[in-house]
């Protein structure tokens, strides 16, 4: 049992914003929202220390429900706004919430550079394998062969592995979970928030309304049961023989490493530059 | 020279041309700062921008005047310095009939006018100072001596403020060398230029 009770999330919900929220019944974003709030409370952060930044899409609507400073930006650009906020006020805990299309298609460039730069930002990437808000078009994470409103004959492009992409690009912390594995999700979000440097948490979430319906995957309950069936702790997954790994989804902390954090490096530059300026006087 | 400066200076359009890497941008900067900051004139300077960082014809244009400078580019050039044949050919189309034309005698075999003053800037920098890269400064020394558009004193101050520490003596020598080249040549062919007061040749 966590030291703080689950119900504290109600304190962090923004009550002048009308509930129920905009998402479809059963959407994993609501589960993620609760998980994120518990992780924030668990981290001991004050509401005034946290800024939530999102892009466009279903995930973009998440920050508005949270009683913190929240910025709903343009499609794919959440990380750029977050970078500005973090540079301007390094004391703030800046968390971005993006979807898979948001983060790896239109915002893919920003994602890899944010990871490379390693600014102290937490990026939550909700992967539902489709563009849900616009009606189920294929995204960079849509599996090969899957149906989408823009892939009526089946999807022919290989998909991104968001976690592997982030790790390769240089993120200090990369983790994956699903909205079914919600206790693990709580922990991983907490770890990512605590980690100095760029942390990515990939959250698999069902879009039964668009992706599930087109691909006959049943309700969100069925899709979450699939997460339950396939999800495996990464430590166990790594012990699987190579040929059997594709059947399961590795969950947990995939990368956790100490790298130079942009803000600290920049502070050193400032010190050097101001010393040189004084020496020149 | 000193009485010339007492006069009001009309618009004098100068163009320094050569090949990228010959230091014409620095020469233009020094000329502009000498006239603007030390001689108290109004100045405007533009330089050619191209994709190539080295080589090719490049130029810096400095307008010097005692009035506010409206048009910042050369329209009728009063003073033309060319350090390569390519630059001399490329940038000589709008010289005033009586413009000062100063060229490097070794590198410009066919100057745009027979009245051009030909001085061996690069050879002198190489032979006398052992530093061919100060040919641009030698040329500035000659420009001050020949035209009087800028004062030698202003030029020296502007130059010393711009060049890297440790090269001040070399650069002063280069200025003096340019002035001497110009004086020596003046005995052979007096240089004529436009009147310093502004005239609009219609």
């Amino acid at each position: 049992m966590p030291p703080v009770h689950r119900s504290v999330v109600y304190d962090w919900l923004r009550h002048d914003k009308k509930f129920p929220h905009v998402w479809c019944p059963g959407c994993g974003l609501g589960i993620l929202l609760g998980s994120l709030l518990r992780a924030l409370v668990e981290s001991g952060l004050d509401k005034n220390q946290v800024v939530l930044v999102s892009g466009i899409g279903c995930s973009g609507r998440l920050p508005v429900y949270v009683d913190v400073g929240s910025v709903h930006t343009t499609h794919g650009r959440a990380l750029t706004f977050a970078t500005g906020i973090k540079l301007a006020k390094p004391e703030l805990k800046v968390i971005t919430v993006m979807g898979d299309g948001d983060a790896t298609a239109i915002g893919g460039n920003h994602l890899i550079h944010a990871a490379r730069r390693n600014l102290d930002i937490t990026a939550i990437i909700v992967n539902n394998q489709t563009y849900g808000m616009t009606g189920g078009q294929y995204s960079p994470t849509t599996p090969l062969g899957a149906k989408a409103t823009t892939a009526p004959y089946g999807h022919i492009e290989p998909s991104f592995d968001i976690s592997a992409l982030s790790a390769t690009a240089g993120a200090a912390f990369v983790a994956r979970s699903t909205v079914y594995h919600v206790t693990q999700l709580d922990q991983l979000l907490g770890q990512a928030i605590a980690k100095p440097g760029f942390g990515v948490v990939e959250v698999l979430s069902p879009c039964h309304t668009n992706f599930g319906r087109q691909n006959r995957l049943g309700s969100q309950v069925d899709m979450m049961k699939e997460f339950k069936r396939k999800g495996m702790r990464v430590e166990r997954w790594r012990e699987l023989p190579e040929g059997r790994r594709a059947e399961s989804i590795p969950l947990g902390v995939l990368v956790d490493r100490d790298l130079p954090v942009f803000g600290q490096s920049y502070d050193r530059i400032c010190d050097a530059a101001s010393r040189r300026g004084e020496a020149g006087k | 020279m000193s009485e010339k400066q007492a006069q009001t200076l009309g618009r004098v359009e100068t163009r320094l041309a050569g090949s990228g890497g010959q230091g014409l941008l620095l020469a233009g900067l020094v000329l502009a700062e000498a006239a603007g900051l030390y001689d108290g004139r109004e100045v405007a300077m533009v330089q050619s921008y191209g994709p190539e960082a080295r080589g090719g014809a490049s130029k810096a244009e400095v307008i010097i005047s005692d009035q506010a400078i409206d048009y910042p580019l050369c329209t009728r050039v009063d003073l033309f310095l060319a350090l390569t044949q390519e630059a001399a050919d490329a940038y000589c189309w709008d010289l005033k009939p009586n413009a000062w034309i100063i060229v490097d005698s070794d590198l410009v075999s066919h100057p745009p006018s027979s009245k051009a003053v030909r001085l061996p800037f690069t050879a002198a920098a190489r032979d006398k100072l052992k530093k061919p890269m100060v040919a641009n400064v030698v040329a500035l020394g000659a420009i001050a001596e020949i035209t009087g558009v800028i004062s030698r004193r202003g030029l020296e101050k502007a130059l010393l403020a711009r060049v890297p520490a440790g090269t001040e003596a070399l650069n002063k020598k280069a200025l003096a060398l340019g002035a001497k080249l110009a004086r020596d040549a003046a005995g052979q062919a007096p240089a004529e230029g436009p009147a310093t007061a502004h005239t609009e040749d219609m």
């Binding site: 009770h5 009550h15 509930f19 959407c27 609501g30 589960i31 609760g34 998980s35 919600v182 206790t183 | -």
Partner: protein, 113 residues
Amino acid sequence: MSGKAARPKPAQTGESKVSFFPAWCKRCGNCVAFCPRGALKRDQWGYPVLADPDRCTSCGLCEMLCPDFALSVGEAGPKPAGAGAPRGSRVAPTTSPERLAPEPNGGEEDGNG
């Protein structure tokens, strides 16, 4: 099914381990589907009810898997202003979901009315 409709809603009892906020509930069924002990059932309208309180261990999974913050489990947690208040009002009155949600037992939105 018809028998369950007559069952008093747990939120009204003041005793239940699970509080439901039907105004926020979208009847997705996560809580019912994933309750490890099968303690929750859907009523005839699809809303969850604690059908078998004895089986409920207050593990909280239903709360965590509810995307709509429409139910809350357990006795723990802060007891802010109005400590004797009915279940479901454990949070401060100014931030309580009930302030926006219709009365659980009164309105037409209840779906059971």
